[in-house]
């Protein structure tokens, strides 16, 4: 129960209110709970009602204290982002004169089969990694939640992959899945099975990249789920047990509905990060070659959109085209996130 603040901010809708309702006398409690801080804030801001300028002056130290983040954000994130909008309408090689070309870069983009290939690759890799990742994370979280001993050890163990250097993991995976001399193929051969050309087949390349991402982020999501699980009141479980529900019924009728806001959060976050796979294929497929670097491996099967963007910007020095690629890609991510949001939220309203 002590971890309820974790679930608090993540709960997006009023759904968490009514859900906690049945346990005890909620009505007066709720007013005292979330209502009070709101009222307490109001008189304070009422003091600054005389003018907004006075308000800024009065809270100057506070604004100053939070300003470093916003300064760094605007210099290193906001400005470059806005600048790429400008760049997408230019032709520029990085040091020469910029030349305004209107929508030409987007026309090129529309006609470029490699761009569409990279989008397909990205979406396939994302689906192959996110679906098993979130499922396994949920199962792991439920398991760890039910364990009584060594809980700290399990939590640390789950978290370690996500703080391990991605480049190191990619090199390691490259060695494990190596076609001719890799560990997995050695095991397959010792069991008299034929070796799989992991890093040259179109589909196994995507599978290896997805496996790498799954390995790295499953534990991270499991920790988030674990926090959500601990926020579910134990009375609910007790009541369900009294009514004779088995563990599977409890999982689907209590755990999953109660976790819905957390699941929404992880789905959105893993959509945004999962679609941005870049380092994995870059390290796996000889990015330092002097001829044809960053091609995404055999058949360009590991060429994700961000890797293609990087190739255009930093190998070909076609910065305008690269900017057009990332903006088109941004719109795609936005679309997918919106669809996800709608899907998960609609489910939330149903019960």
């Amino acid at each position: 129960m002590s971890s309820s603040p974790v679930a608090g901010p993540a709960a997006t809708g009023p759904s968490s209110g009514p859900a906690t309702g049945p346990s005890g006398q909620p009505a007066p409690d709720r007013h005292r709970g979330p209502g009070r801080p709101g009222r307490r804030i109001r008189p304070v801001s009422a003091g600054g009602r005389r003018g907004p300028r006075r308000g800024i002056a009065r809270y100057f130290p506070q604004y100053l204290a939070v300003s470093p983040y916003y300064l760094i954000f605007s210099v290193f994130m906001l400005f470059p982002m806005l600048y790429t909008v400008y760049l997408a309408f230019q032709k520029w090689d990085g040091i020469g004169e910029m030349q305004f070309v209107g929508l030409q870069q987007f026309r090129f983009l529309w006609d470029d089969p490699v761009f569409w290939l990279s989008l397909r690759n990205t979406v396939v890799i994302w689906v192959l990694s996110t679906v098993p990742m979130l499922f396994m994370a949920l199962v792991l979280a439920v398991l760890v939640n039910s364990v009584r001993r060594f809980t700290a050890f399990y939590r640390v163990a789950l978290f370690i992959p996500s703080i391990t250097s991605l480049v190191a993991i990619a090199i390691f995976f490259g060695a494990i899945f190596s076609n001719n001399f890799g560990l997995i193929n050695a095991i397959l051969q010792s069991m008299h099975l034929s070796a799989v050309p992991w890093l040259s087949n179109e589909w196994t390349i995507k599978l290896v990249i997805a496996a790498l991402m799954t390995w790295q982020w499953t534990g991270y999501n499991a920790i988030i789920y674990l926090a959500g699980l601990q926020a579910i009141p134990s009375e609910l479980y007790e009541a369900a047990k009294m009514d004779g529900a088995g563990p599977v019924r409890i999982f689907f009728s209590i755990t999953i509905p109660m976790l819905r806001p957390i699941i929404l959060f992880t789905v959105v976050v893993s959509t945004v990060t999962g679609l941005q796979s870049f380092t994995e294929p870059q390290v796996l497929f000889g990015s330092d070659a002097s001829t044809n670097p960053n091609s995404g491996g055999p058949g360009q099967a590991g060429l994700t959109t961000l890797l293609y963007f990087y190739h255009q910007a930093f190998d070909n020095n076609d910065f305008g085209y690269a900017a057009a690629i990332v903006w088109a890609f941004f719109l795609l991510i936005l679309l997918i996130v919106t669809i996800n949001w709608r899907l998960v939220q609609r489910k939330e309203r149903r019960p």
Binding site: D111, S178, S290, S295, N317
Partner: protein, 425 residues
């Protein structure tokens, strides 16, 4: 409580201000540093020059302070970023061979070495290499550090097993064409089934294109990648694939393949010898070098350039002239396997000695004549970008079994698109 919070905020503000001031100071020192003609910033990458020669240059030119930085990671990107302002730009910088063409349209950002005295030195250096760093109106922006004359490395022991000639001179004369080389590969594969002739067909394609006098784009900025010379190179490259003597190595397993006899030959530049000896120290003495079938080709080879913001052009030119003198280039060959661009160096003991890795063979007898006979070809700024389409499709042939004819058509149409995006007519 209130007081301490205020104090905390004050402290935070002070810290932020201090950090800002430090950053400003950092910028300030950089500014004064580059305008000072006594301080020269010198950028290169690990292995790009002999570190010993560079260290000696610092001593040799004690009247200026040479601040060398060995830049890691993507060198070209860092140079592009560094050259944004005069304060951050280096005074002397290396540029890799595969990147030099893309800098030529911005030759105005570099000093013309000819006007600093390179025109008098030019006859001492390989003319085809100088041409790579020369603009169409005759400005020279790069002093050549090294070249990559290509040759065919082969396993003498495996050749002997297959009944092929083993003596370098004989191999060079008998396998003098691509077809003869591939035929030998078929025999080799028959005699030693686990051994293949080439690691991938992209390597053959890159050599075959380099043997010609024109590439993907001509001097009038017109796309010519669909013409006969590229088509012939493509057909040559596909042959080992159809003959079944292609090892199809497109991942990091090359290191293992070179050591365990999967590869019977390896075509590559002079600097590739170092890759082989590093990856397969156990095969020492079993390798030999022969001429590249169908004539010499070049792969790689870098330059030293002086950005136009250089604080002391005369001194900087004197320094690079010294670093890249024939004697010091010979040291570069010993220390970092940099093949000299001054033919005078080919006579020096550092190069004429035998190489134990190649069973004591005097490899200069193969590389020296090749270096001087490499054809000069116009390399357009978009050359590397356009070539990617061909390499990708050749890999598709190897990895997916794509029909070579379809792959050729796709490669040409993609190359045309890339060329168009890069402003080629």
């Amino acid at each position: 409580m209130d007081l301490s919070r205020r104090r905390f905020l004050q402290a935070a503000v002070l810290t932020a201000a201090a950090a800002g001031a430090t950053a400003a100071c950092g910028g300030g020192t950089g500014e004064s540093g580059s305008k000072d003609s006594k301080n020269l910033k010198f950028w290169y990458w690990a292995g790009g020059l002999s570190d010993k020669v560079v260290a000696d240059a610092e001593k040799q030119f004690s009247d200026v302070s040479l601040k060398t930085s060995v830049i890691g990671g993507d060198f070209k990107t860092k140079l592009l970023t560094g050259m944004k302002t005069a304060q951050t730009a280096p005074d002397i910088t290396g540029i890799k061979g595969e990147d030099i063409a893309s800098f030529l349209p911005n030759a105005g950002r570099f000093l013309d070495l000819n006007s600093l005295g390179m025109d008098k030195l030019a006859p001492e250096y390989l003319s085809w290499k100088l041409k790579q760093a020369t603009t169409q109106d005759g400005k020279l922006i790069g002093f050549p550090i090294d070249i990559g004359p290509c040759a065919m490395y082969y396993r003498e022991d495996l050749f002997a097993k297959a009944g092929l000639p083993t003596d370098p001179a004989k191999v060079s004369s008998e396998l003098s064409t691509w077809d003869a080389y591939f035929e030998a590969g078929v025999e080799l594969h028959k005699a030693v089934p686990k051994t293949f002739l080439v690691n991938n067909i992209g390597a053959v394609f890159s050599m075959a294109v380099g043997q010609g006098t024109s590439r993907y784009i001509d001097a009038d900025n017109k796309f010519i990648g669909d013409q006969d010379h590229i088509r012939t190179a493509w057909t040559t490259a596909v042959k080992p694939y159809t003959l079944g003597i292609d090892a199809k190595i497109n991942d990091n397993t090359w290191n293992a393949a070179i050591g365990n006899g999967t590869l019977g030959t390896e075509i590559g530049a002079a600097w590739h010898a170092l890759d082989i000896s590093n990856a397969a120290p156990g095969t020492k003495g079993k390798w030999r070098v022969a001429s590249l079938p169908s004539g010499p080709s070049n792969l790689g080879g870098s330059f030293l350039c002086l950005p136009s913001t250089c604080a002391n052009p005369e001194k900087a030119f004197e320094i690079i002239k010294w670093i890249l003198s024939p004697e010091n280039q010979a040291r570069g060959f010993t220390d970092a396997a940099l093949f000299p661009t001054a033919p005078a160096a080919y006579e020096l003991p550092a190069l004429t000695g035998g190489d134990a890795f190649f069973g004591g063979q005097k490899t200069i007898e193969i590389f020296g004549p090749a270096a001087e006979k490499i054809p000069a070809a116009y390399e357009a700024p978009a050359d590397a970008a356009v070539s990617a389409a061909y390499f990708n499709e050749l890999t598709n042939v190897e990895a997916k079994g794509k029909d070579p004819e379809t792959a050729w058509k796709d490669a040409v149409s993609q190359a045309k698109q890339i060329a168009q995006r890069q402003g080629v007519k």
